[in-house]
Symmetry: C4
Subunit: 254 residues, 4 copies
Amino acid sequence: MKERPAQVRWERRTQRPLFGLAAAFAVAYAVPIVWPEADRGVERLCTAVEWAVWGAFALDYLVRLLLAEERARFVRTHWLDLCAVVLPLIQPLRLLRLVSTLLLVGQRARVASQIRLTTYVGGAVVGLLMFGSLAVLSVERDSPNGNIKTLGDAVWWSFTTMTTVGYGDHAPTTGLGRMLAVGLMLSGIALLGLVTANIAAWFISRFEMDDVEERRQTAAIAALAEEVRALRAEVAALSDARPVVHSSVEERRR
Amino acid sequence: MKERPAQVRWERRTQRPLFGLAAAFAVAYAVPIVWPEADRGVERLCTAVEWAVWGAFALDYLVRLLLAEERARFVRTHWLDLCAVVLPLIQPLRLLRLVSTLLLVGQRARVASQIRLTTYVGGAVVGLLMFGSLAVLSVERDSPNGNIKTLGDAVWWSFTTMTTVGYGDHAPTTGLGRMLAVGLMLSGIALLGLVTANIAAWFISRFEMDDVEERRQTAAIAALAEEVRALRAEVAALSDARPVVHSSVEERRR
Amino acid sequence: MKERPAQVRWERRTQRPLFGLAAAFAVAYAVPIVWPEADRGVERLCTAVEWAVWGAFALDYLVRLLLAEERARFVRTHWLDLCAVVLPLIQPLRLLRLVSTLLLVGQRARVASQIRLTTYVGGAVVGLLMFGSLAVLSVERDSPNGNIKTLGDAVWWSFTTMTTVGYGDHAPTTGLGRMLAVGLMLSGIALLGLVTANIAAWFISRFEMDDVEERRQTAAIAALAEEVRALRAEVAALSDARPVVHSSVEERRR
Amino acid sequence: MKERPAQVRWERRTQRPLFGLAAAFAVAYAVPIVWPEADRGVERLCTAVEWAVWGAFALDYLVRLLLAEERARFVRTHWLDLCAVVLPLIQPLRLLRLVSTLLLVGQRARVASQIRLTTYVGGAVVGLLMFGSLAVLSVERDSPNGNIKTLGDAVWWSFTTMTTVGYGDHAPTTGLGRMLAVGLMLSGIALLGLVTANIAAWFISRFEMDDVEERRQTAAIAALAEEVRALRAEVAALSDARPVVHSSVEERRR
C-alpha cells in the first residue's frame, strides 16, 4: 500500500479531528441507551451527531479517494470502507450506522502508522466491549423473554463472552443480539490468540539471543578475518621488499 | 506423497466439477432439515442427490487408485477415504453418508495444492459450523426433552460451542447429538490453536527480521570480503610489477 | 537422568507386561462403576485386580530402585512414584488407588523412550477423559442433588470440561467430584496449549526455511570463497613464474 | 531499570521478612471470611495485621525511593506502587487494602531477580485464586440472590472462571463481585497464554537446534578458513624463497 504524498498529508492532518469525532459518536450512541427516559430533543440531537460523524468519515473516504493517484486500486484495497459509506444510505438503521462508523474508524486508525499494534488491539477490544454491550442492551431490552435488561448485565455479559467463559446466566435471545454475540466471541478468540502470540514471541526472542550455532559462526568469521589480515601483512612485507606501487583499501576508495 | 503424472492430471481436471457436486450435496442435505413439511418427492430427490454425490467421490477414489503407480501405497496413505467409500454401503444412515462425503471432500481439497492453508481452514470451519448445525437440529428436533428445535437455535449453539464459550442455554441431550457436539468442540480447539499459531508465526517472523546477531554476521562477512578484495589488488600490483600471466575470476570462468 | 544399563535393561524387558497390566486395571476399575448391580464376587475380583496391578507397579519401582546405581538420586528424581507407592498403604481408598496407579503408569510411560510425545499426550488425554468420567460418576451418583447419574452424562461432562466449553447442564456438586473436575480443567488447558504450540512450531519451522537474511549470508560466503579461490590462482601463477617450492592443502595434509 | 547498589542491597536484605509479612497478610485476610462467627477481638487483630503489613510495604517503597539515585525516574517507573501506597489512606476499604497490598507484594516479587518466571507466574495464579475466592465470598455472601455462600463454592467458582470453563452453576451477582470475576477471567486468559507460549517456545527451541541453513553456513565458513590457511602457506613459501622479513599474527600482537 505505497500511497502518494498528497493523500498521506491529508491523512496526517485530519487524524486528530477524526478521532475527536469518533469519541463524540461514542457519547451520542451511548446516551439514548443508557438514559432511555431522556427528552425527545436529546434523542434527536444524538441521532444528528451520529449522522454527522458518519458523514465526516464518509467525506474523508471520498477526499482520500480523490487524492489517491491510482483510484481503481484505492477502491479495490478499501472496498470495506466503501460498503461502510454506502450501506447507511440504503438502510438507515441505527445498528448499521454503528457498524459502518466503527468500520470506518477502525480502517482509519490502521492508516495512522504512529499508533502501535498493542494500542490498536487494546483500543479495539475496549471499543468492542463498550459498543457490544450497548448494542446488545438496546436489542435485548425490548425482547419479552430476554435477560439482559440493565447496562451492568450487558457489560458483565460482554466480559463473560469475550473471555469465552460463558456462564450462561445472561445470554441474548433475539437473532440480532446473537449476531452481535458471535462478533464478540470471534473477537475474543482473536484477542486470546494475540495475547498468547505476544507472550510466545517475547519468549522465543529471548531464546534466539542465546542461539549457540550463530555465536559459533560469528567467532569463526572473526577468526577468518584475523587470518586474512595477517595474510595481507605478509603480502605487504613481500611487496615492501621490492619497489612496487601498491594501494590500501582506503587509498583506492578516494 | 510423490504421485505420478496420470493421477495428478486426473486430479486437476476433476477438481472443479467435484467441488460443484460438493455444493449440490450441501443444498440436498439442508433442504429436508430446514423445510421438514416438504413433499415426499423433494425428499426423495434430495436423497438421490446425496447418493449421487457420494457415488461421484467414491468413483473418483477408485479412478485415482487405478491411476496410482504404487497401489498398495495409495491404499495405505488414503485408508480414511477407503472407509468413507465403504461405510455407507454397509450402513445406509443419512448421518453416516454426511460424514463420509465430508471426509471425501476434505481429503480431495487437501490434494488440490492451489488451495492455500488459510482458505482450507476457513472452508473447513464454515463447513463444520453449517453441517454441524443441520445435523444436530435433525437429531435433537425429535428428542422429547431437547432444547434445539429451530435452525436459529442450532446455528447459535454451534457458534457458542466452537468458540468454547458454552453458555448452556442450548445443549444437545441425545447421544448422537453429543457426539456431533464433541466433534465441534475439538474443531474449535484446533481453530483456536490455528488462529494463535498464525498470529504468533507472523509476530516471530517480524522479530526474526531484526535478528541482531545475524546483522552483525552479515556486516562481518561484508568487511571480510572488502579485505580480500584489497588483498587481491595488492597481489595484482605485485604481479603487475613483473611480467606474469594472471587471470581474473571472470576470465577463468570462460 | 543418565541411568545405568541394568536398570535400563529391566525397564525395556518389563515395559510390555506392565502396559498390559495397566489395561487390566482400566477394565477392573470400570466394571463395578458401569455395572453397579454386579455380583459381590465380581466386585471382589475387580478390587483384587486393582491391588495386584498397583502391587506390580510398586514392585517395579522397588526393583528399579535396587538396580539404580545412585539410589539417593533415584529417590529424589522419582519422589512422585514413591508417594504413589506409599499412599494406598496408608489410606486404602479406591480413588487414591486409581490416582496412584495412574501416576505410576504415567511415570513409567515417560521412561519408555520409544513412545513419541504425541502418542504420550494423546494417551494421557484419552486416559484422563476415561478415568475422569468413571471417577466422577462413582462419586456423584450417590450425591442427593447431583446431576451426573449415567455413564453417558459423565463422558459428555468430561468433554465439555476438558475443552473448556462448560455448558453447565451437568456439573459436579460434591467436593471430591469438584477436585476431579479441576484436574480435568487443568489438563484441558495444557492440552490446548500443546495443540497450539504444536501448530505454531510447525508454522514457524516453515518460516525459518525462508529466512531471507540467512540466504543472503550464504550467498555472501559463497562469493567470498570464489574470490579467495581466484586469489590463490593468482598467487600460484606468481610463484609458478619463478622456481619456488610450494605445497597445496592436500600435500600439506600428508 | 539499572538501579544503584544501596537500593539493591536494601532490596536483598528485606526480601525474606517482607514475604513473611505477605504470608501473615494472607492469614489475616482469610480468617474473618472463613470464620465469620469469630470474636470481635480476632477481627480487630486481623485488621491490625492487615494495616501493619500494608504499612511495612509502604515503608519499603519509601526507603527504596530515598535510596534511589534518580528519584524522579523511580517514581515514574513505580507509579503503580505509589497508587497502592496512597489509595488505602484515602479510602480505607478492606477490598482496596487487599488490592493495594497484593500490588505491592507483586511488584516487590518482580524485583527479586532470584525468583524465576515460572515460580512468579505460579505464585501469582495461586494467589489470585485464593484471594479471588475469599474476596468474592465476602462480597456475595451478603447478597440476597447470590449463589456463592460457602468457601467451597467460592473456590470451585474461581477455578471454573480462571480456566474459562464457566459452568454458570455459581456466578457473582453483585457489581463488586463481577469486577473481581473480570479480574480472574483476564488472569485466566493471561495464564492460558503463558502456558501455551512456554510450550511453544520449548518446541521451537528444539526445532532451532536443527536449523539446516545455519549448519550449511558453518560448513562453508570452515571450508573458507581452510582455503585461506592454504593460501597463507603458499605466500609464506613464496617469501621464504627470498630473504624477506615477515611476521606472524602472534608476533604482530606483541
